[in-house]
Symmetry: C2
Subunit: 459 residues, 2 copies
C-alpha cells in the first residue's frame, strides 16, 4: 500500500484523467507564495462526486495523501502535496447547477470560479459578494474561509455558505446544512468544513447565499497626510455605523506599486479606496457622512467613480495588489502577512507592523481590509539570502504574537496552509488538541491534505 499502488489503481479508474506528466505535476506544485516547487506524484481530474468518492476510497485503501486543488491561488500553499500523493484537481467540476432567484441562493460545483458565477448571475439582478481578489474557485474559497474587500458588508465565506456536499476521508458522501435560512438541528458541520482546508473532507457541491444588486453604487479614492490618519478615519467610520461596502487601506509604497504596474499616476501617499451600496439617497447620505469623517483626519483629493467601468478599473487595480507589489522588485520572492485584530487595536497593530518592517530595510507594502481590522504587510526578499529570510521570519513571528496579544488572529483570510502552522498552538492553546481530536476522528489515516493546519503531535 503505497502512493505508487494508489496511482496504478487510480489510473484503472480514470484512464487519461490521471496524469503524471511533468509539466502538469509542476503546475500543481507551484504556488503564489514563497514555498519551493512541490509537485504531487500524480494529478487526477474527476468529473463528478461519485468519482471523487472513488478516488478518496482508493487513496484511503493505499494510505495515499489526497490534496484538493482549485485554481492554485492560495497564498499559504494549501494546494501543495507536501507529503506527496495525489492532487485532486476539481476544475472539471465547474457547473452552476441551480439558481434559486426567489430564495436568493445558488447551487454550484466546487470548480466554479467567483467571476464565472457572477457572469452567470448577471441577468438575474443577483450577485455573489465574497471577493478575495483572485478569481478563485468557490470550493477553494469555502475550504480556506476566504473573504476580501466586501466582507465588511456581506461577511466571509463562513456567512455565505449555506450547505455543502462533502466526500469524507473514507469516501462517504454527506450533505450538511440546507437551503433554510436558519436551523437548530444538530452540529453545524457546514461551518466545520468551511475553513478546514481540505483536511476533513473534499467539498463537491456548495449552496451559497446571493445578494440583490444594489440600486446605486459609488466608489472613491482619497488620500491622507499619514497612514495613521487613514486608519483613524476607518476606525471612526466603522464606529459611526456607516454600512461601508468596501473600505481599503493602501500605503504610499503600494500606490507606487500600482503606478508601476498599472500605469496610473496616483500621488504617492496613503489612500483609502471606498465603496457605498444602497438606494441613491442612502449612498449620497453615506458618502457625505464619510466625507466629513475623512476631512477631520485630513483626507483630501477625493476621486469618485460612479460609472461601472471606472469602478471595475479601480477594484481590478486593488485586486492585483499582490502582483503590483511583486512588480516593485520582480527579481525577488514575496510573502504577505495576514493578521486581523479588533478595530480598536488596528492603529496599534499597523503602527507596530510599519515600525518593525521598516527596520528590515526591504521593499514593504501595506494594504488591508481595514473595516474588518485585517491588513496585509507584503515583503520582497531574496530566497537565497538565508540571514535575510531569517529576519523576515522573525518579523512575521513577532507580528503574529502581536496580533494574538491584541485579541486578534494570525490569519484574517489567507488561512493556515503550510506557513502559519507554527502559530497555531500560540493562538489556540488547548483548543488545538480539540481540533486534532476532530481530525483524528474524521480522517484517522491522515490522508486528507496532511501537513496542513495542524502541527505534528510531538513538535
Amino acid at each position: 500500500m503505497t502512493i505508487e499502488t494508489a496511482i496504478d489503481a487510480l489510473g484503472d479508474l480514470l484512464g487519461q484523467r490521471l496524469t503524471t506528466s511533468g509539466a502538469i505535476l509542476r503546475q500543481h506544485g507551484e504556488n503564489e507564495a514563497y514555498y519551493p516547487l512541490t509537485p504531487p506524484d500524480a494529478v487526477v481530474f474527476p468529473e463528478n462526486t461519485a468519482e471523487v468518492a472513488e478516488v478518496v476510497k482508493i487513496c484511503a485503501a493505499h494510505d495515499c495523501p489526497v490534496v484538493a486543488y482549485g485554481t492554485g491561488t492560495s497564498l499559504e500553499g494549501h494546494q501543495l502535496a507536501v507529503q506527496g500523493g495525489i492532487s485532486l484537481d476539481l476544475s472539471n467540476m465547474n457547473m452552476v447547477l441551480r439558481v434559486n432567484t426567489e430564495d436568493m441562493d445558488v447551487v454550484v460545483q466546487p470548480g466554479v470560479t467567483r467571476e464565472q458565477l457572477n457572469d452567470d448571475l448577471r441577468a438575474t439582478g443577483l450577485f455573489f459578494p465574497v471577493d478575495p481578489g483572485a478569481n478563485a474557485s468557490l470550493g477553494g474559497m469555502a475550504a480556506t474561509r476566504a473573504s476580501g474587500t466586501t466582507a465588511v458588508r456581506y461577511g466571509t465565506m463562513k456567512e455565505n455558505v449555506m450547505a455543502l456536499e462533502v466526500v469524507m476521508a473514507d469516501g462517504r458522501i454527506i450533505r450538511t446544512g440546507s437551503r433554510a435560512r436558519k436551523s437548530s438541528a444538530g452540529y453545524d458541520l457546514t461551518k466545520l468544513m468551511v475553513g478546514s482546508e481540505g483536511t476533513l473532507g473534499i467539498i463537491t457541491e456548495l449552496t451559497l447565499k446571493l445578494q440583490g444588486q444594489p440600486e446605486a453604487v459609488s466608489a472613491a479614492t482619497c488620500r491622507f497626510p499619514s497612514i495613521k490618519d487613514a486608519v483613524n478615519t476607518v476606525i471612526a467610520t466603522i464606529q459611526s455605523g456607516i454600512p461601508m461596502a468596501r473600505i481599503e487601506l493602501i500605503d504610499a509604497m503600494m500606490v507606487r506599486g500600482f503606478n508601476t504596474a498599472d500605469g496610473t499616476s496616483l500621488p504617492e501617499a496613503p489612500h483609502l479606496f471606498i465603496e457605498f451600496h444602497g438606494s441613491p439617497a442612502s449612498v449620497a447620505e453615506q458618502s457625505a457622512q464619510f466625507g466629513e469623517i475623512a476631512a477631520d483626519f485630513g483626507g483630501n483629493g477625493f476621486k469618485w467613480a460612479t460609472k461601472a467601468e471606472d469602478r471595475n478599473a479601480l477594484w481590478k487595480m486593488r485586486h492585483n495588489a499582490y502582483y503590483a507589489h511583486k512588480a516593485l522588485a520582480p527579481e525577488l520572492r514575496a510573502l504577505a502577512t495576514d493578521i486581523c485584530v479588533p478595530i480598536s487595536r488596528l492603529a496599534e497593530a499597523i503602527e507596530f507592523a510599519t515600525t518593525q518592517s521598516t527596520a528590515l530595510d526591504l521593499t514593504v507594502t501595506i494594504i488591508g481590509h481595514v473595516g474588518d481590522g485585517n491588513f496585509h504587510c507584503a515583503l520582497s526578499f531574496d530566497p537565497d539570502d538565508a540571514a535575510q529570510f531569517s529576519r523576515v521570519q522573525d518579523f512575521m513571528h513577532r507580528l503574529a504574537q502581536k496580533a494574538i496579544a491584541l485579541s486578534g488572529t494570525v490569519s484574517g483570510e489567507h488561512g493556515i496552509g503550510v506557513g502559519k502552522i507554527k502559530y497555531m498552538l500560540e493562538e489556540h492553546g488547548e483548543a488545538l488538541d480539540v481540533m486534532r481530536q476532530i481530525k483524528h476522528a474524521l480522517d484517522p489515516k491522515n490522508i486528507l491534505n496532511p501537513g496542513k493546519i495542524l502541527p505534528p503531535d510531538t513538535p
Copy 2:
C-alpha cells in the same frame, strides 16, 4: 463509579452548593414542553469556570451524566437529565465581564440573561439583538443556537457569538475564536459548540457581537383577509429587499389567545407584526414600501407603535405567545412545531400545516418568524389521551417530513433536545454519523447531556 459516588465527591467540593432537595430537583426536572417531570439526582451551582471544570472532572471519573442548566425555558427539554445525573445550574455565573464599546462586543458569563445584558448596555447606545422571546440565559441561547423575532435582520446566535470559553468532557478548559471580526486560523470550534446543546462541552464564557441602537424604530400591526395573503406579503417583502427588523405572522386563533391572555381586542384575523430600524428617513421609506406591498394583498387596519412603551407592549404580547396559547386551553398540555423552509416554499408549508392540523380537531395556533421561513404550530392536547397524542405525533412527523422535502429543516430555532431526535437521521442522512464521530471523539464516555441530539447508535 456511579452517580451516587459522584454526588459524594461533588458534595466534598461544593458543600452547600450541591443540593438533593426535592423541591430544587423537581424545579430542574420541569420543562416548558410536554415532557414528564424528570428530576436530576442532584443540582450543583458552580461559581466560576474552574469549579465547572472540577465538576466535569468528577463526573467523568464517576461516569456520571452532567447536564447544563440555564433558565429552563427550552421548548425541547434540553435541560432534562434524561439518564439521571447532575444538573449543572449556571445561574450564579451571571456577570457581564467586559463591554468593549469601541469594538461593539461584550464578554459575559453564561448565566447572564438577554434582558439583564440589555439593561446593562442601556447607557452605551448598544444592544444585543437576538431575542427568542423568553428571558433565556445567553449560555443556553448559544448552546441551542437560539434566534427569534430579530434574526431576519441581525442573525441567530450563530452569527452573533464571536468567541467562547468551554469546559470539555475531560475537564479541560479551552478558548475558541477571538475578538477579531474574522479569522481563517483553523477549525471553527465556536460554531461547532454553538447549537451543540451541551453535548460537546459546557460554555463558561461568551464574547458576543453588539449592535448600535437604531436612530429610529417603528413598529406596526396590520391584518389580512387570509393567512395566505399575509404569507404572500412576507414573501414579496423579503424578495424586495426591505431590511425588516422583525416580521411576524400571527394567525386568527393566536390573536384570540392574545385577546384572552392580554385583554387586548384585536380583530380575530391573520396579522403581521412588523418593525423597522434605521435613520428616520429610511424607516419612513421602508414603512411606505411595506405598506404598498401589504395593500396589494389586502392588508389593512395598520396600527403604528412609534413610542417605546407601545412597542414594548406589542412585543411583550408576541413574546408571551406560547403562554397565551396555553391560556386558550389551560387544562391541557401544549407543544410547538418549529420547521423552517426556504422562503419560496413558505406558503406551501403553512398551507400544509394548516390543513393537516385543522384535521386534528384540537386548539391550534400558528405564529412565525416568517421572514426567515420559520413558523411554529402550537397544539393543545390531553396527555392522558394516548390515541389523541399518537395523532399529534403523527402530524408532527408528517410536518417534519414536509420540511425536509421542501429543502428545509425540522428545527429552525428550538433545537433537537429530546423531542426531535427521531427526525435527525431523516434530515441529515450519512452526516448524522459524522456528528456521532465528533461526539465520540470529544466525549467518549458520553457524560455530557446524554440522550440529546444524537439518536442511539443502534435504533
